[in-house]
Symmetry: C2
Subunit: 88 residues, 2 copies
């Protein structure tokens, strides 16, 4: 069993109104030294395989097919061994 941890972020050139709203909220809370906020998705996935390369291939395919929009988003991930019989 492997666990994939995937970060999906908006590309630099894409405006992030949700990040702007959170930035504004932080300023209202007195956190004035925060100068920029961008918000993306964090996805954890369990993959039933004993082969790390298989886990990578499946994660890559999941990102390309479903998790990230290639026009607007970038993704990065890490893969780690995960003990059998547990849940995330």
């Amino acid at each position: 069993m492997y666990q994939a941890k995937i970060n999906v972020t908006l590309r630099k050139s894409i405006l992030d109104p949700q990040g702007k709203a959170v930035h504004h909220g932080l300023e209202s809370q007195g956190l004035k030294s925060v100068t920029e906020v961008r918000i993306g998705k964090f996805i954890e996935m369990l993959i039933q395989t004993d082969n790390e390369n298989d886990a990578k291939r499946i994660t890559e395919e999941a990102c390309k097919k479903l998790l990230a929009n290639p026009v607007m988003e970038d993704y990065s991930y890490t893969i780690e061994k995960f003990p059998e019989g547990y849940e995330i």
Copy 2:
């Protein structure tokens, strides 16, 4: 300048319907070996300070006050030095 990378995840005990929907979508795409999916938020923040401890304190405060709901969510973060004059 420091950059904080924050992961906000739903607590184990909280149901994640968005994760279930994505899991189902991956199965429909033929990715049958994915056994669980959970979805959280990924937040990148730039902090105007030269002091790493300040950056940590500000990130912690932002998570507690605004970014994570302590009843339903956990958070973790990393802090890295970030070159002046750049944007994320």
